[in-house]
Structure formats: structure tokens, C-alpha cells
């Protein structure tokens, strides 16, 4: 019984991995690809690991630790990637309307902004 429930939970998780792979191909620029990619790392890996935990109850604690570590560390790298993408937004052809961050920077650095 546990095996079947766990297998379906893992299947639902891998469905989100598939959806975010489709999103990576379809989205137009780095920011939106990250948005699609966030799906894989959040609900995708959480459901996948939970499914393994349900299949093998002895491993549930270890899976919970993995989920907590993913939830704590994933936003840090996402944030660094988003900042880097924003610094290079012209070169990667990102379309942002409105861009409140550039407007804030533009107001302060109008003198030497190229």
C-alpha cells in the first residue's frame, strides 16, 4: 500500500520536473526560465523526496532533512542568479515592463550610466 501511494507522489513530483523542462524551452529570457525552473526545485523535488520517504518509512527522516536543506539553500542561489541576470539585462535581451530596479538605479546614477 505504502509503495503504491509513494510511487504516485513521486510520479506527481516528476511531472513537475517535466513541466519545468518544457518551461525552460518555451520561456523567452533568463528571468522567466528561472521562474519555470523554480517549479522543479520546489514542488518537484519536495514531492519526489516525500514519495521516496513514504515508500521506505525508515528513510522519511533523511528525506525531511533533504527537503529542509533544499528549501533553505535554493532561494540563495536563485537570488544570486537573478541579480546577475539583472546586471546583464540588456545583453540577454530581457523584456521587463516595468523595471522598478533600473528606474531606481537610473535616478541615482544618471551621470555615468552608459
Amino acid at each position: 500500500m505504502n509503495e503504491i501511494v509513494g510511487a504516485f507522489v513521486s510520479l506527481a513530483g516528476s511531472l513537475f520536473f517535466l513541466l519545468s523542462a518544457v518551461g525552460l524551452l518555451r520561456m523567452p529570457d533568463a528571468f522567466n526560465r528561472m521562474q519555470a525552473g523554480t517549479k522543479a526545485t520546489t514542488l518537484g523535488s519536495i514531492l519526489f523526496l516525500l514519495g521516496i520517504g513514504i515508500m521506505k518509512p525508515d528513510w522519511l527522516g533523511r528525506m525531511v532533512i533533504l527537503i529542509v536543506f533544499i528549501v533553505l539553500t535554493n532561494p540563495v542561489s536563485s537570488n544570486a542568479l537573478a541579480r546577475a541576470a539583472h546586471a546583464h539585462r540588456k545583453r540577454i535581451g530581457a523584456r521587463l515592463e516595468p523595471d522598478a530596479l533600473a528606474a531606481e538605479d537610473g535616478g541615482k546614477e544618471a551621470g555615468h550610466a552608459g
Partner: protein, 165 residues
């Protein structure tokens, strides 16, 4: 007081991780883990550690549990929303960066808010300057700061305010 709270929290955190790692429990392993966790928690550590911002009253703990469910619901709903946008043939996105304001004062509160925003698909925290948070939003529904604040931050903030100000 603050450092005592930090030591208790880091002891509980370390011991909790140990217990989860050694899942089919026996009392010897649990006791050995508790001793080592106590030793590590007794080491001197920085006063600036954000753990001290967590409040431990009964109301804060109840809110922490409530926040877990609120966040899970937001996570599932926004996952389904982004999945719908990815599969829609016309790709209905209107990306942009909006500025939102937060009322949270403590570093831990702001960290939790920014990470919650990034973890829900559809919004990514790009930059944080003082109380201004710059968020990349896959479909900008409201470009004006107040409307965007209500839409993105509103649901999380009232819980985080109770948990860690």
C-alpha cells in the same frame, strides 16, 4: 537572554537533525547525539546570529505552524499557476520588476520573507535595499508599489510579523 535563546535553539536544531538522520531510533544513539549537540551549542558564537530574532511565546509558535500551512498552500497554488502559463499555447506572461515595501524590521524576518517570495514560482526576489524589495513577477498585475505589496507580500507578512517582527 538572547544568547541563551540562541543556544537552546541551536541545541534543538542540531539534535533534531541528528534524530532525523538516525531514523530507527535507539536510546544510546539519541543520548550520544544530545551530548555532542550540547557541546556544540555551548561553543561561543556570534551575537549577530539571526536565530535570536525568533520569538518563542505560545502565540508565535502557533503562528509558525499556521505559516507552514499558509506557505504550503501558496506554494501549490503558484506552482499550478506557472504550470498553466507554461502549457498555455499563447504563453500568457507579462514579466517585470516591481518594488514592494515590507514592514518587517529584523534580519531573520526579512530573510524569511525574501526566501518565501523566491520559493513560490512566479515571483523572484532580485534585490533588497532597506525596506524596499525588488521582485521579478512573471505576470505584473499591478505595477504600483501598494497594489504589488498587497498581492505579493500581504499574505506572508502578517504571519512573519508575529513570528519574528
Amino acid at each position: 537572554m538572547r544568547t541563551v535563546k540562541q543556544r537552546i535553539l541551536s541545541f534543538l536544531g542540531l539534535w533534531g537533525v541528528w534524530l532525523l538522520l538516525t531514523a530507527p531510533w535507539n536510546s544510546e544513539e539519541a543520548a550520544a547525539g544530545a551530548v555532542v549537540a550540547l557541546l556544540v551549542a555551548a561553543l561561543p558564537f556570534s551575537r549577530a546570529s539571526p536565530l535570536g530574532d525568533l520569538k518563542l511565546g505560545p502565540r508565535a509558535l502557533a503562528t509558525l505552524v499556521a505559516y507552514f500551512f499558509v506557505f504550503t498552500k501558496a506554494l501549490v497554488l503558484s506552482n499550478l499557476d506557472v504550470a498553466f502559463r507554461v502549457l498555455h499555447p499563447r504563453l500568457p506572461i507579462a514579466p517585470g520588476i516591481v518594488k514592494v515595501k515590507t514592514r518587517l524590521k529584523t534580519p531573520l524576518g526579512r530573510l524569511l520573507l525574501a526566501n518565501s517570495i523566491t520559493l513560490t514560482p512566479g515571483t523572484i526576489t532580485v534585490e533588497m535595499r532597506g525596506e524596499d524589495v525588488f521582485v521579478h513577477w512573471i505576470k505584473v498585475a499591478d505595477a504600483d508599489p501598494e497594489g504589488a505589496t498587497a498581492a505579493i507580500v500581504g499574505g506572508f507578512e502578517k504571519y512573519l510579523e508575529v513570528i519574528c517582527g
